[in-house]
Symmetry: C2
Subunit: 200 residues, 2 copies
DNA sequence: CTTCCGGCATGACAATTGTCATATGAAAAT
DNA sequence: ATTTTCATATGACAATTGTCATGCCGGAAG
């Protein structure tokens, strides 16, 4: 099978590509260091399958998966990510992703996952299966934007002017977010949202 | 040469070990998933050299390097890390680390670095060489502790009781840290300190 | 067509946060 | 022995933050 490896960390990308290429039934036909590159490569090289990191520059792996679904491209996607954040997993399922592995599974599982997915099956790290039932993102779009900026160290006034809101409104959103996430303050709120993948 | 690979992310650890092992002159004699394991393995297996991540559970790669220096163990250390934080690099140099690579260099560089270090030389990612002249950590021990807790979402009162300080004192430290780092508030201060490796 | 809800806004209030001036005792430097 | 420095503390003050009640508007649901 012909695969593309999309991963921004050079060393991991190189190592995975090299190892997969050693397998008899796998041929690595391209490597991408960011989401845009991955998308272009998939369109031009038309591989069977793409191993994709989530956190990448320009387009995240999930963005790419969603575009592939829109354009009905046949390339299957196996997500390979560091974090077991419930939001990621759910979004991936909706985007039709066929495999979802954590970066700290052993490498053997990657080869196995690729074969399983190529054969029409699925492959999911066991730690993740449960997350199907985990909490949905309780934050509204606005709350997320505001929280993201707050997490970057901006104050209410600054956030207000970037989003063209009044500073009171910003504080309202922040307050709501804090309560929804059961946090003590904006800092904890950002931490919680982040940990669950509700900001990306 | 006999090497140990210490890296908490299973997939990268496995991939690197497999690839290094393919080289004729390299033998991977052990793999560690955290700092303690790495230290024990180095003591029992006495390898020539250890490839080590910084951010690992229990003991960081830098902690391990420092202990090896104390005990005058001959095992040379090549640090392999994601972030180019000036604090890390400086601490590593002081700990007698011989090689320091970023995880997004190409893999070829890893093999090359190992050979160079094994032959008594050094190997440093070019992005890092400059950092020798970069700012030293301006924060005192106390300021760091306080800032770390603030970054975890705790308020002044909570920080105070954990560190057995008065809440006024905590606010003083925070205020100093904020000014030293030229930040607007504690959040930005944590971000800046973090980015420079001044909290780890 | 109402009713309800989401996004947006105000104003008021309390709590927390950030800044400063100042003080003490202990340790380090001179 | 004297001075400086550091960690700790206080109190006062202003700014920011978090909460709440309330109101308006437009669109979705009934």
């Amino acid at each position: 099978m012909r695969v593309i490896v999309a991963e921004d960390q050079g060393m991991l990308r190189g190592a995975l590509s090299a190892l997969l290429d050693l397998e008899d039934d796998i041929e690595v036909v391209g490597q991408a260091a960011d989401g845009e590159q991955a998308l272009r490569m998939i369109e031009t090289l038309d591989p069977d399958l793409c191993v994709m990191d989530i956190e990448m520059p320009k387009l995240t792996g999930l963005d790419v998966a969603e575009r592939l679904k829109e354009t009905k491209h046949g390339c299957k996607v196996v997500i390979l990510t560091t974090f077991s954040r419930s939001g990621y997993f759910q979004r991936a399922m909706r985007a039709g992703v066929k495999g979802f592995l954590l970066k700290d599974s052993p490498i053997d599982e990657l080869g196995a996952a690729l074969r399983s997915v190529h054969g029409g099956g699925r492959a999911v790290s066991p730690e993740l299966a449960m997350q199907l039932w985990e909490a949905e993102n309780p934050l509204t779009e606005r709350e997320r934007e505001v929280l993201k900026l707050a997490g970057a160290g901006l104050g209410a006034g600054e956030i207000a002017s970037r989003l063209f809101l009044s500073h009171g409104t910003v504080r309202n959103y922040l307050s709501e977010a804090i309560q929804k996430l059961d946090a003590k303050n904006r800092i904890e709120a950002t931490l919680i949202a982040e940990r669950n993948g509700w900001l990306g």
